[in-house]
């Protein structure tokens, strides 16, 4: 009982922190936009800076090429600036920016592949697949410090890159950029229910592909791995 109360208290503290953070980010964005509109153009640097990483990662995930993703990220930032007068504050600024990044990525993919306009969104939640996780009988946690080893980062990036696009985008926004379900749905133009379904499937596919490979990154110590079939 005491443990449950402690968990509830921690959850509430995290929620309070998130609410305050989101509110202060929104105020910061609104103040920046007001000042840019008043002529302080250089403030745009401060406004776009917190979104840079998310823009790049989204485009890298879509385009699969660092140079192309960087060029597209610059184009996105330019478009955000030129269209800033269209931002009405109905969503978070970051959500709006990432929608522009996604459109930039889709536009480039269409040019690259000469695919039909709608073909890039053709994957749907109806498609069948095997989302059974990797069956393990025990798991030894891989510590964050293991990421100091380049191979682990490469392994994770490759697994994410190997996901079908509809799952990759949701994983990217929810688990890497740590957006909430609503914001993720807003960027991708899908329902919150679809975000949850895709997130579940994406995580299941990642667990299945990554968990067996992560064995070598677990800290050595007493006890044995009980890797199942």
């Amino acid at each position: 009982m005491r443990e449950q109360k402690r968990k509830r208290r921690v959850t509430w503290q995290i929620l309070s922190y998130l609410i305050v953070t989101i509110a202060s980010n929104t105020e910061f964005d609104a103040e920046c936009i007001r000042r840019i509109r008043a002529g302080e153009k250089h403030i745009f640097h401060d406004l776009i800076r917190p979104c840079e990483r998310a823009i790049y990662i989204m485009l890298l995930s879509m385009l699969g090429n660092e140079a192309e993703a960087e060029d597209a990220a610059q184009e996105t930032a330019v478009k955000v600036y030129l269209n800033l007068h269209l931002f009405r504050g109905e969503s978070q600024f970051r959500t709006w920016v990432l929608s522009i990044a996604r459109n930039e990525g889709l536009g480039r993919l269409r040019k690259l592949s000469n695919r039909r306009e709608d073909s890039l969104d053709a994957e749907t939640d109806e498609q069948r697949g095997d989302y059974t996780p990797a069956i393990l009988t025990s798991w030894k946690e891989i510590p964050d410090e293991a990421l100091e080893r380049k191979e682990l980062g490469e392994l994770i990036r490759a697994a994410i890159a190997g996901l079908p696009e509809i799952y990759r985008n949701v994983i990217l926004l929810r688990d890497i950029e740590e957006m909430d379900v609503r914001e993720t749905a807003g960027v991708l133009g899908i329902s919150e229910g679809a975000v949850k379904v895709r997130l579940h499937r994406g995580r299941a596919l990642l667990q299945r592909s990554l968990a067996p490979k992560l064995k070598g990154f677990a800290p050595r110590g007493k006890g044995l791995f009980g890797w199942g079939a």
Partner: protein
């Protein structure tokens, strides 16, 4: 209610995000107490999520930010920005 492993896997993502109803949460936790397979699946999924969120997994290329802001300075700040 007793639930089986497949049922638990179906809700693992929502469980990690704290988005399952209290009753189902209790059923899952009761199952996890005795099922080492589902416990390992849960722990490994949670660990994969933690690792993915680390900034070192997706690092910006060296000089990315400088080049971006130089481009903004060059191409935008000379523009006339109107409402």
């Amino acid at each position: 209610m007793r639930i089986d492993c497949k049922h638990v896997w179906q809700y693992i993502s929502a469980y990690i995000d704290g988005e399952v109803e209290a009753e189902l949460r209790e059923d899952i936790e009761r199952h996890l107490e005795t099922c080492e397979i589902c416990s390992a699946v849960l722990d490994s999924t949670r660990n994969v999520i933690v690792l993915m969120a680390d900034d070192r997994v997706f690092e910006l290329p060296a000089g990315f930010s400088e080049r971006l802001h130089a481009r903004l300075d060059k191409e935008l700040l000379d523009e006339t920005w109107t409402e």
